[in-house]
Symmetry: C2
Subunit: 171 residues, 2 copies
Amino acid sequence: MKYGVAIFPSKKLQDLANSYRKRYDTKYAFIPPHITLKQTFEATDMEISTVAERLKDIAKKFQPFKLNVTKAKSFQPVSNTIYFKVELSEELQELHVALHDEKFCKSESEHAFVPHITIAQDLSDNEHSDVLGQLSMLDVSHEEEVKRIHLLYQLEDGAWTVYETFRLGAE
Amino acid sequence: MKYGVAIFPSKKLQDLANSYRKRYDTKYAFIPPHITLKQTFEATDMEISTVAERLKDIAKKFQPFKLNVTKAKSFQPVSNTIYFKVELSEELQELHVALHDEKFCKSESEHAFVPHITIAQDLSDNEHSDVLGQLSMLDVSHEEEVKRIHLLYQLEDGAWTVYETFRLGAE
């Protein structure tokens, strides 16, 4: 089964992201607005309870931390994906490292961690320019506190369901 | 903000439900297949942490329990909603009672609890007959274990995000 780890930001930020995603994100219906901490990885039904326990332990070691969204950006020329840029804080970096340590669970090495909330993807070049143009003029700066992380799994149709959430710093 | 409490069944059952929901459920994109334990209720940002604490306490008092899906049924003549019927076990009944006790959080009285997984809604009468006819011939009997319950909140576009999950019987 396919799993992933993500942060769901506040309703306020999700509502803002969804006002764009509704029109511009082909994955809109598959998952609420989120910040991916660990990309899709495979685990069996047996393995996942161990993974969940380890994730619980990792979450315990972190305290709730501030998350800052600064502006809308694009992954061009790599892809036409537009996103809200999330500041790479020390805590996000450490969380990312902990989730990619082999003590947590094996996973492919990946690109540098660029924390973000996707708001548009699979756009044509014209759409991409239009949407990015609109969004560049928008002040999306926003700060909030991250209190929990989510372990999710993917259904056959591509949609994601939450398996379990873990409070940061919880006893 | 609008909150609700639900059980997400196993991936296997969700995949089966979604194979129908994709075509026949207008709320398909808003939430994965689920069993509602407590209908939408209002809570402020302040109240919800207390609600979450109480839900954690309630979850602790229950042990994981068996969930049985028996067949596809319809809410007609009340509505054209088709669902997988979930057997009303003692545990489900007690969980439902605990979530509607005023010690948990105030909520409107509602109809008798008919645990179910919606697979089709807002169908025309013809579609309803067709789909129900197809599904009646299908053996959907299924048993699994419920290990956790989910507290969700609703975004402005109608979609639901998981706020937190609670393990049944957890320390």
